[in-house]
């Protein structure tokens, strides 16, 4: 059947392409180079535009949206400062492998290279922090490039893709068709794992005496949570997850022994150090996880499942690499385990679990629950209780982020949203906006610190405009806490520029943006305040908790140390 094709202007093709791609929200900010596009957005209502207050907010909001919903996050910014403001969120998405599709306006093609007004080399600036990027020079390439951008962002190991569109391309016209699919000969991600490797892995898994499952963000990005649960429960092995992997396996399941890494639990890190078979799935042996590589898992044979071949044997040599989509590989692994017919070594496993229980008994996350001054951990525990562990939680970067990861027990994937790889302060609030748009009726909490929060505070205005009832949990210790902690430990308490002087009154600040603010100073008031805030279903509430300034994150594995060399809090140092 021959379809009649419409001849459309580039700007219209752009908006129609997004519609045909199924895009619900575009997070953006207008400017000269994208005015044709904004004019088209104005004329329709299917693709909804969310006007942020700073392009960094647009990028993080789209990122929060994609992390929570699994759909691509779409951003539209103008040329020059519009796109440079978006570099931080692009790099944030790149480090955590999240699929953003960022569209930037560009000066007209004939002016490119002329130092035209608001010209920057967007493709050049973003090249090191995108999965791929495109400059569209001809309107006839526009629709297919948009399709390619979504395809590349979402497939294989996901990642951000930038499409730079000169203004004249949005004014020129051509026939419009949006392709159903694209094939890029130089880009064909592997899906299925090698059957021989999977068989070998199954055999090694069943031979383990002290097994450990270690999973990362890849399981969440690969939507393989159900498969991971089946695999883990079938074996009865202990499982630990990275900061990016939390929620893929339920935190309340007894097989879960906590997060691993620098501020992971004692039992998870000890389990890693002493295991004899390590099953790494969708994790990349980041330095915050492994500590000193020379001392990493000294006794273990390692199986590593990852969709990205370059993640395998990058930091740690592995014995059985399996390249493939984690979901497919886990299905095949479960089948291979069944086909093998063997069972895990029950005797050995019993001994191993007994050892792990001993490590758990250390109670490494213990803190003083009777303190009158508010302990940040207490606030998070209460939030967890009052939301029945079902809230979506975004976070910024610092101590509060680690406490959130330690004390909010995530049972479901895509509920814990934080910048793990780049560690971007300012991520939390805009990310929460994206999550709330994706799930308008769910509770979305942003656990943050006063230093991080002010980095994108302007987005409070966006929250008002779109009625986003986020609950901001500001753990206000009047310090860049994580910086202060390192200065306390490693710089002889010289607190160089880590004190947040001249802080705003956060209650008034929230109110001036049209929201509700509450200040909470005593432990006994924490629960009531949280309850009251959570009851306000339609209001953004900024809860300013004045917390203990001296609290540190424990346990801690100092960088450059082995995983078994953890510090508990000072009053209870281990040998």
């Amino acid at each position: 059947m021959i379809q009649k094709r419409d001849t459309l202007r580039g700007a219209e093709i752009f908006v129609r392409s997004l519609r045909d791609e199924g895009v619900e929200y575009v997070f953006g900010y207008p400017g000269g180079a994208v005015l044709h596009i904004y004019d088209e957005l104005f004329k329709q209502s299917e693709v909804k535009h969310i006007l942020v207050r700073h392009e960094q907010g647009a990028g993080h909001a789209a990122d929060g949206y994609t992390r929570a919903t699994g759909k691509p996050g779409v951003v539209l910014v103008t040329s020059g400062p519009g796109v440079t403001n978006c570099v931080t969120p692009i790099a944030t998405a790149y480090m955590d492998s999240t699929p953003l599709v960022v569209f930037s306006g560009q000066v007209p093609t004939r002016l490119i290279g002329n130092d035209a007004f608001q010209e920057v080399d967007a493709v050049g600036i973003t090249r090191p922090c995108v999965k791929h990027n495109f400059l569209v020079k001809d309107v006839r390439d526009l629709a297919v490039t948009i399709k390619k951008a979504f395809h590349v962002a979402m497939s294989g190991r996901p990642g951000p893709v930038l499409v730079d569109i000169p203004k004249d391309v949005t004014a020129d016209s051509c026939e419009y068709t949006y392709p159903d699919s694209v094939d890029i000969r130089s880009y064909r991600p592997v899906v299925k794992g090698h059957p021989g490797q999977i068989k070998k892995a199954a055999k090694l898994i069943l031979s383990a005496k002290r097994p450990m499952i270690y999973t990362g963000g890849g399981v969440i990005l690969g939507n393989a949570s159900a498969e991971l649960r089946e695999f883990t429960r079938m074996l009865g092995y202990p499982i630990t997850q990275t900061l990016m992997g939390l929620g893929a396996f339920p935190a309340t399941d007894p097989q879960f022994i906590g997060m691993l890494g620098m501020h992971g639990t004692y039992e998870a890190n000890m389990g890693m150090h002493y295991c004899d078979v390590l099953i790494a799935i969708g994790a990349r042996f980041d330095d915050r996880v492994t500590g000193d590589l020379k001392q990493f898992c000294p006794q273990a044979q390692i199986i590593h499942v990852d969709v990205d071949p370059s993640s395998i044997s990058k930091n740690v040599r592995v014995d059985i690499p399996i390249v493939g989509d984690v979901k497919h590989v886990l299905v095949d692994l479960c089948a291979a385990l069944r086909a093998h017919g063997g069972k895990p070594d029950a005797e050995a496993l019993k001994t191993w679990w007994a050892q792990i229980k001993e490590w758990q008994a250390v109670d490494c996350l213990r803190y003083n629950r009777n303190s009158e001054v508010i302990k940040p951990q207490f606030v998070i525990e209460k939030l967890y209780e009052l939301t029945q562990g079902r809230a979506y939680v975004t976070s910024d970067v610092g101590q509060h982020q680690m406490w959130a990861a330690q004390f909010y027990k995530f049972d479901e994937p895509r509920h814990w949203i934080n910048s793990g790889g780049l560690g971007t302060m300012g991520f939390g609030l805009p990310a929460a906006m994206g999550v709330q748009l994706g799930f308008p009726r769910e509770t979305v909490a942003c656990i943050t610190g006063e230093a991080s929060l002010v980095m994108c505070i302007q987005e409070l205005s966006t929250c008002l405009q779109y009625g986003l009832p986020i609950k901001i949990i500001n753990l206000n210790n009047r310090y860049m806490g994580m910086v202060r902690q390192w200065q306390e430990f490693f710089y002889d308490k010289r607190y160089s520029h880590s004190y947040m002087d001249a802080l705003p009154d956060f209650v008034k600040l929230a109110e001036s943006f049209g929201h509700t603010g509450m200040r909470v100073e005593k432990t006994k008031d924490v629960e009531t305040a949280l309850r009251d805030a959570l009851k306000m279903k339609d209001k953004l509430v900024l809860l300013d908790f004045i917390t203990d300034q001296t609290e540190n994150v424990y346990p801690m594995m100092a960088s450059g140390k082995g995983q078994h060399e953890m510090h508990l809090s000072p009053d209870r140092e281990l040998a």
């Binding site: 090249r127 130089s186 370059s310 044997s313």
Partner: protein, 163 residues
């Protein structure tokens, strides 16, 4: 160890900077890099000479392969291959030295392709060692300019990389 990587890449603006950018961002070495279109105008062939431990070379191969514009990568040094490089070299050639220089060029199977009263311009191909040897054989004071293309390589026998 020294490795010669051969790449097929999309002949797109920016492909070269993606590859060179990757090498600098990840602190991989580049000894030389050559690139030109192939018989298929949409595809360029690139030869990169690099060095590093086996682990580093493995990472380089994987990282290069991961780039969306890269169609294929092969490590030529893994098996029999031929490498060639073209050098143009301009030398001072006056009086008696002219004869001597001509003999040297013949020994190295080069060609004198431009002559003035005071200079010779010599064209020479070969592997890097041969070109280095020629340069070393000359009196450094006589060398005016050296222009080298960097290595191009191809596998021996039936082995070929194709799209």
């Amino acid at each position: 160890m020294r490795h010669i990587l051969s790449l097929l890449v999309e002949n797109e603006a920016g492909a070269l900077s993606r590859i060179s950018g990757l090498f600098s961002a990840r602190a991989f070495n580049i000894e030389s890099l050559t690139v030109a279109p192939t018989e298929d105008a949409s595809v360029s062939r690139m030869t990169i000479v690099t060095n590093g431990s086996d682990e580093i070379i493995e990472q380089i191969m994987k990282q290069v392969n991961k780039l969306v514009d890269v169609i294929k990568v092969m490590d030529l040094s893994e098996s029999d291959h031929i490498e060639r490089e073209l050098m143009l070299i301009k030398v001072t050639a006056k009086g008696e030295a002219r004869e001597e220089l001509k003999r040297m060029v013949d020994i190295f199977r080069g060609r004198i392709i431009d002559v003035t009263d005071n200079t010779y311009t010599v064209e020479m191909t070969g592997d890097g060692n041969k070109l280095n040897a020629f340069i070393k054989a000359l009196d450094p004071k006589l060398i005016l300019e050296v222009v080298r293309t960097g290595v191009s390589g191809i596998a021996r026998g039936d082995r070929a990389i194709r799209t």
